[in-house]
């Protein structure tokens, strides 16, 4: 199950959204597509966009298959988002995670807390 749309952001200076959200249907899971780069440089945009989206009562399913560049700030942002969702009783689910996302989260000891330990790179969890 890969609900994610194709990544449109490539490395560069274009200010395209870091996070994309699929249309919210009542009670249907909301899709969240992480883009190519989730680093400190992108973190403010990422936070703004995550906060701007109203996920309603939907579960959030994240597609991290396009992530090729991520750092501690980016992973911390995802962790904070996961905590935020958890307080609302809506744990974050993963549709897919790129090898870089998996490797980085494991390297920082965050894979378990992000729910990425069972995921396989670039495929359904």
């Amino acid at each position: 199950m890969n609900r994610a749309r194709k990544a449109t952001r490539r490395p560069g200076k274009a200010a395209t959204p870091v996070v994309k959200v699929a249309p919210v249907a009542e009670r249907a899971p909301a899709g969240l597509k992480l883009e190519f780069s989730c680093t400190l440089r992108d973190s403010l945009d990422m936070q703004f966009q995550l906060l701007a989206v109203d996920f309603g009562d939907s579960d959030v399913i994240v597609d991290g298959s396009a992530v090729e560049r991520i750092d501690t700030a980016g992973l911390q942002m995802l962790l904070s988002f996961a905590k935020y969702q958890a307080t609302r009783g809506k744990p974050v689910l993963w549709a897919a995670a790129s090898p870089e996302l998996l490797r980085s989260s494991q390297q920082l000891g965050l894979a378990g807390m992000l729910g990425l330990e069972e995921s396989r790179g670039g495929s359904e969890p």
Binding site: M46, Q47, L51, Q76, S80, K83, Q107, L108, L110
Partner: protein, 671 residues
């Protein structure tokens, strides 16, 4: 708000180039076959720091290359590989490559990676083929956890301080490097990570506890966190050995963060903490401001002389005190611009080593006076002339070992660079104990080129002067190192442009000594103030030969050469300053004014002026920056009464004038 890592690039480049200089110096100390762990560690640390910085800024080519270099150095450090001459050569080449790569990135140029790739491949081959000292090839042992006697377990506690991420330090990169040392287990504590709305994405809230099983020494672990020093709390403890309290970083106090016991401050840290890096522009701005204060103070002093009474006396006394303080301030600010000449000398060990190897000569380079300080701008401009002179000494001065032995000299020649203060100047002397200059050959060459008359009798001083003429070269064979005959004139011109001087002494068979005299600074100049009409000009004292009043009829007209007058056996052209600058003179008759004989670029001329006013030290203001470049004018200054005076560029003025006439023939008496 975004993080602009580019603002840190220049600092990284500066520090990396300095570190590469240290690395090169350390590499030159390596002796093949001798295990010098301290020197290898120094080299390793430089490679590691550059790798870390390059990785952080995304300079991946540099990071990859230095990673391979670091791996090789790690083998050397661990004693699994021996220092050999080819290896030293390869390591020196790697310094050149890193310099080239960084230089290209800094100047946004394309760097040809061919040599770097070849070196990297060679290093990789050496690493793969390494043999233990016993001589038997063995793959790198990968002992099972807790089973190898050389493997230790370390517990590392790491907590980020608020500026860690902002300064480009990423725990992810550090932990990846740690994982490269052995088996790493990471446990993150995310209890303080706030919810999304209150999260500051530029602060790292997570802290970690890590366990590392590795053969690497503690210093390797500490190195990984080196760039984060001051931005994290770090505690490294051995889990299976004696417990030692080590806090290698000096964390800044974080609000609400528990502080670790302070580590004793090492001498190195203390020394580092006592210096800061300041952009030269800031110092120049400061110097400029001080210059303005000097001018204002001078104006006030001049005004105070017109006042009378008790208060006026007190005012003058106060201003005299102020004058002393300001002069001291000016001198101290100028000292900030001063750097030890050793920063230029440091390039010569490598240069002499490479050239002597290439030429098959044995040469010992002796350096002294490296701590002698010189203005930064002067230092930057003296580097190339010095390189040329040292190359000449190595290439043409020092003989081959066989020739030296035949001449009864030691097989190894010596090139000595010495810097010292003399009066208000700095002297740099380059001496070699080589073959010296053959005066007869120089004279013959000058005759064959028509530079001197066939029957001219020249003293030593004049003979040596000939080698500074454009195109003059006595090298029997032109090499690609030196001897093209285009160098010494350029060397002298560059030194003259700095307000300096160059002299040469040589003895056939005994060696050559070249003395360069340089001003301490280019920011101020000792000037002779002169008046022409209502204008005041500054003539740098260093260019003034003599001032004289001509007798009526002493000036002659030479067709195509203008006015000339006799001076010590030669005819010098007259430069009428009022004509050059378009001002009305007090008198246009030459014997009613004064002639100031000036010298520049080996030429002399007489400046026609109204009168001499006095000598004073003036602060040089760039005319080029504030207005435009004007031929014959080197800059401007503001005088005590607030007027602007032009500082003459004597070599420039001489270039504008017709050349001097050497013979009396064809002269026409002037009125």
């Amino acid at each position: 708000m975004t993080i602009d890592l580019e603002s840190f690039h220049e600092v990284f480049f500066l520090e990396s180039f300095e570190a590469l200089d240290s690395m090169e110096g350390a590499l030159l100390q390596l002796v093949p076959g001798v295990a010098d762990s301290e020197t290898v560690n120094t080299i390793f640390r430089v490679a590691h720091s550059i790798k870390g910085g390059a990785g952080m800024f995304g300079f991946n080519e540099v990071a990859t290359f230095t990673h391979t270099l670091e791996t090789l150095l790690d083998e050397l450090r661990a004693g699994r590989m021996e220092v050999t001459a080819p290896l030293c050569e390869g390591l020196l080449q790697s310094v050149d490559q890193i310099r080239g790569m960084l230089g290209a990135i800094q100047k946004q140029q394309v760097f040809d990676p061919a040599t770097a790739n070849a070196l990297k491949a060679e290093f990789t081959r050496l690493i793969d083929e390494r043999k233990p000292r016993g001589g038997q090839a063995a793959p790198r042992p990968v002992p099972p956890a807790d089973a190898d006697a050389g493997r230790r377990r370390w517990q590392i506690r790491f907590k980020a301080l608020p500026d860690l991420l902002n300064r480009g330090n990423d725990p992810l990169r550090m932990f990846s490097e740690l994982a490269g040392l052995g088996d790493l287990r990471v446990v993150a504590d995310c209890s303080t990570v706030p919810d999304l709305p209150t999260l500051d994405p530029q602060i790292c809230y997570i802290s970690w506890q890590l366990e590392l099983a590795t053969e690497a020494p503690r210093s390797s672990i500490e190195l990984i966190f080196e760039w984060a020093e001051g931005d994290c709390e770090l505690d490294i403890q051995p889990l299976d050995g004696p417990v030692a309290v080590v806090v290698p970083t000096q964390p800044a106090p974080a609000p609400g963060a528990p502080s670790l016991p302070a580590a004793p401050t090492s001498a190195v840290t203390s020394a580092e903490g006592n210096s800061i890096r300041v952009a030269i522009e800031k110092i120049d701005e400061l110097l400029n401001t001080v210059g303005e204060i000097v001018i204002t103070q001078s104006m006030l002093s001049q005004l105070s002389r017109q006042l009378e009474g008790l208060h006026a006396d007190r005012l003058r006394a106060g201003l005299a005190q102020l004058d002393m303080s300001i002069r001291e301030l000016q001198e101290r600010v100028m000292r900030v611009r001063m750097l030890p000449v050793g920063t230029v000398f440091s390039r010569f060990p490598r240069l002499v080593r490479d050239l002597s190897t290439r030429l098959g000569k044995k040469i010992r380079l002796q350096l002294s006076g490296e701590q002698t300080e010189l203005d930064k701008t002067v230092l930057e401009k003296i580097g190339d002339p010095l390189v040329h002179l040292v190359r000449n000494s190595v290439d043409h001065g020092i003989e081959s070992p066989a020739a030296r032995i035949a001449a009864g000299k030691p097989e190894e020649g010596t090139v000595h660079l010495n810097a010292f203060h003399k009066g208000g100047s700095i002297n740099i002397v380059i001496t070699d104990d080589g073959g010296g200059l053959d005066k007869q050959r120089i004279v013959e060459k000058a005759r064959s080129k028509g530079l001197i008359d066939a029957n001219a009798q020249l003293g030593d001083e004049h003979i040596f002067e000939l080698i500074f003429l454009p195109g003059f070269s006595t090298a029997a064979q032109t090499t690609d190192l030196s001897g093209r005959g285009v160098g010494m004139d350029v060397v002298r011109r560059n030194i003259k442009d700095l307000g300096g001087n160059i002299e040469l002494q040589s003895e056939l068979g005994g060696g050559t000594s070249i003395t360069i005299t340089l001003p301490l600074t280019l920011a101020i100049v000792d000037g002779q103030t002169v008046s022409v009409g209502t204008e005041t000009y500054i003539v740098p004292v260093v260019t003034v030969v003599e001032s004289l009043q001509l007798k009526p009829g002493a000036v002659n007209h030479v067709y195509g050469h203008g006015e000339v007058f006799p001076f010590r056996g030669e005819y010098l052209p007259v430069i009428r300053l009022h004509e050059v600058f378009g001002v009305a003179p007090r008198s246009g008759v030459l014997h009613e004014g004064l002639i100031m004989v000036v010298e520049g670029d080996g030429r002399r001329a007489g400046l026609f002026i109204d009168q001499l006013l006095g000598q004073q030290q003036v602060v040089i203001k760039s005319l080029e920056t504030n207005y435009a470049r004007i031929e014959g004018v080197g800059g401007a200054t503001i005088l005590g009464e607030g007027t602007v005076a032009l500082i003459l560029d004597v070599p420039g003025l001489l270039r504008m004038s017709p050349p001097a006439q050497g013979a009396r023939g064809g002269l026409r008496e002037s009125a």
